[in-house]
């Protein structure tokens, strides 16, 4: 803008700025009695995706935080699909217009490795108000740490569960599904019934299958039970021996088959539904089953949009009675050795898809700004704020603190019935406590593995362009190519690290 400074209009602008500054000073003098605060004059630009979810609570807490500390929190929002690139471009080109951001913990590898993110291990250790021990261990470690250091603060707990319509299943005399075959059977049995009293037939199952959206998480939720049986550290994406993708075997084929089969009991345009659409359908009472994150639980009690208040049950992701033998690539029936964590012969691997929105701080920001940013995230995450936020559907925040699972009162205040709350929180607790939890992929360029290769192949599979075997070959080939490109050994090392090996 230096070029423009000579122009008279710019001088006018300067004059105006001067006047504003002067009047601001007068105001400040008038308000002299107020004590100077820690972060007076500090402005923190926090980027996240456009609300109301996630952005809404962040915006709501900003004035409170300013009153407390004097720091101005400026929430900048961009569309979800552009957040990753936008942040990366900002960091990588040294623009650094963003001081802190709330994003997916999966991305931490891409951001932390080149040193864009601030290591906040020390802050967390000192921070009493945060009550870190109250945060569920999974969200404390997977969602925040990378290579042993803490880079993020958890604001939200996310993993996949299934939701079912208690009334519909009860009427049909069916129990919630334990295996994916049961899931299909239920979907088939209730499909075509009128589930919301509008006289129109509704659907057995609604799963977001839209391309470039959230489809690739759902397929891993199905595949998890077939792929991973030896506990969290076994991993379900690659063989930890040689980084061989686990996508071309009978287990994955079975998952693909089920994934496509659910479409038979789904809306015709399921292939074009993203998770927002399926949530809308489910809360409008049009689906009996769905796979989703914790959000559905709170959205279902929102009287503005929900027709299924107190008619929703949540459960851990179903599993399988057969699991993959990684040596042969074939499915084998569960035994005590092959499925040490199986219950009633059913192996489940609840999928920590996405992992929950977390806040990270730009390492290149000023120290004072970094400090303010940390304290802001801490403030939002503290039980006083968070325990209320997680019960509101519009926040997009899902429970991640032990106190949130154990203290029922907040949920009852939010309008859930006791039964529903127990069921909902129980499902979350069960998933979180599972020793066979399936971790999301968190190696460099995981976006390319999942959002590009896996997602595109799935979309083509659903569209009928390629069959099961071609799909699996395509994914394997694509992942192998990425491995080669990025260095197979390094990727394997990092993959093992995320699994705690």
């Amino acid at each position: 803008m230096r070029l423009l400074k000579k122009s008279p209009t710019f001088n006018l602008g300067k004059l105006a700025a001067g006047v504003t500054a002067a009047s601001a000073m007068v105001l400040a003098l008038g308000a002299n009695t107020v004590q100077a605060k820690k972060f007076d004059g500090v402005t923190v630009n926090v980027m996240t995706f456009t609300g109301p979810q996630i952005a809404e609570p962040l915006q709501r807490h900003a004035p409170e935080f300013k009153a407390l500390t004097g720091a101005t929190i400026n929430i900048i929002t961009v569309p979800f699909s552009d957040l990753y690139t936008k942040l990366l471009t900002d960091f990588a080109t040294g623009t650094n217009s963003v001081d802190a951001a709330v994003f997916a913990p999966q991305w931490v590898v891409d951001y932390a490795d080149p040193g864009y993110l601030q290591d906040i291990s020390a802050n967390v250790a000192k921070d009493k108000a945060l009550e870190e021990s109250d945060i569920s261990p999974f969200f404390r470690s997977f969602s925040t740490q990378y290579k042993g250091k803490t880079y993020l603060l958890t604001l939200d707990g996310d993993f996949h569960m299934i939701y079912y319509r208690t009334d519909v299943l009860k009427e049909a005399g069916l129990a919630p599904p334990n295996t994916w075959d049961e899931y299909l059977a239920i979907a088939k049995a209730v499909n075509g019934q009128d589930m919301n009293g509008d006289g129109k037939p509704d659907y057995g199952s609604c799963i977001s299958k839209k391309r470039n959206a959230q489809a690739y998480w759902a397929v891993m939720s199905i595949a998890g039970g077939y792929l991973q049986s030896q506990g969290t550290s076994q991993g379900a994406f690659f063989d930890t021996k040689d980084m061989k993708p686990l996508v071309n075997n009978d287990a994955f084929a079975a998952a693909l088959h089920i994934y496509k089969e659910t479409s038979k009991y789904a809306p015709a345009d399921e292939i074009n539904l993203d998770v927002g659409d399926t949530r809308g359908l489910f809360t409008a009472g049009r689906c009996a089953l769905t796979i989703d994150w914790g959000d559905v639980g709170t959205l279902a009690i929102d009287p503005n949009s929900s027709k299924v208040i107190d008619k929703v049950g949540a459960a851990m992701l179903p599993g399988s009675t057969k699991v993959l033998n990684r040596d042969t690539g074939k499915l084998e029936t569960c035994t005590a050795t092959s499925c040490p964590h199986a219950v009633d012969g059913i192996n489940r691997a609840p999928y920590a898809a996405f992992g929950g929105w977390s806040g990270g701080i730009n390492a290149a920001a000023d120290d004072k700004v970094k400090q303010a940013a940390y304290e802001y995230f801490s403030y939002v995450s503290q039980p006083a704020q968070s325990n209320k936020d997680v019960t509101i559907g519009a926040t997009g925040f899902n429970p991640y603190r032990l106190s949130q699972f154990n203290n029922m009162q907040g949920w009852l205040d939010a309008g859930m019935s006791k039964e529903a709350a127990e069921n909902y929180l129980g499902a979350i607790k069960d998933s979180l406590n599972s020793p066979n939890m399936l971790l999301d992929l968190r190696i460099p360029k995981n976006q390319n593995y999942q959002q590009v290769v896996l997602d595109t192949a799935l979309a083509r599979y659903l569209a009928g362009e390629i069959d099961v075997n071609q799909t699996m070959e395509t994914i394997e080939e694509g992942w192998d190519e990425l491995n080669e490109e990025l260095g197979k050994a390094e990727q394997l090392e990092l993959y093992k690290a995320t699994l705690g090996l």
């Binding site: 690139t85 040294g94 391309r211 399921e270 074009n272 976006q447 595109t456 599979y461 569209a463």
Partner: protein, 373 residues
Amino acid sequence: MSEVNQAKVGFAQRIDKLTPQLLIFPTVLIILFLAIYPLLLSAYLSMSRFKLVSGGFELKFVGIYNFKKLFSGSQQYHFLGTFGELLLWEWLIIALFIGSFCYWLVRYFASGKASVIGGIGRLITALVLSALTLLAFSVLNGTGHPGSLMVTLFYVFVGVAIQFFVALGLALLCAQKIRGKHFFRMAFFIPIMVTPVGIAYAFRMLMDMSQGPFAPIWSMFGLAEFSWAADAWMARWVVLIGDSWQWIPFLFMVLLAAIENQPKEQVEAAQLDGAGSWRVFKDITFPSIAAVAATAVLIRLIEAFKIIDLPNILTNGGPGIATESMTLHSFIAWRTQDLGGSAAVGYSLLFVAVVICVSFFNFVGQRTVAKGA
């Protein structure tokens, strides 16, 4: 004239002499900085891999790797498409097409007016058209699936053709003596004012078979449980409808202005001579608006190659990759930091678009200009 004045004149003259440069320099400079320089940088980008390194990023030169991937590597299905087995009759039609391109070339060289540049230009045009014909037949037949290249060409050619004819029809109707001309004119112009992102969302609402405004009609026809989004061709057509809705107004306005500007007496002379409406249109109106129409179509062609918002928002490129245009292809690669791949797709698009637009400009546009006026 006094001395002072002469000095003034001298100065003014010098300024006046510089005016030609002053007039054109801003444009040239702006385009150099904001078009040529990015273009060169992108060229380098398309031949490199983007890598994040400590404190910044690094571009690793990889030569034509990114292009190879698109044309014969793991992204071939995505860019060119999946090839089907060609049947004999399909080969014959392809041969016919290629033969006619060759004939066109030969005729040019035999005409005696051939120049080196003209020859090279036509050769490139013929080669690209032949290659596209072959590609079109291999990916559009029963067993093949078109990639983003062919999908883009579908949007461009079919879309622009439909938009042109609808716009022409509307313009002809509106050029008559009708009541409420101003209303129709204004109304028909509105869609272009709506932001493409908004149009895409609006069409998502409208095309919803169960909640959209036409839902009762769909269910009347028993189509409530039918989804256009699950069918590749239906989805492409829906994207095309949205695109047409947005862009018909542009062609409509240009053609309407052209029709209203044509000399009235020519039409009257033809009417006196006994020409009916169709003859008047074919023999008088159309030739007189052909030059304007060619320019408008060329502008539209250029914009059509860049279609992104509609497929991105309506279907995210699905089902499969059925509705993915090249710009969307490039954009998706961009989003996952595959900058090299993204730039390679962009450059391929640039090449195809330039060849087609330049060919259109030289072989269709110029002809109408030469004949008209």
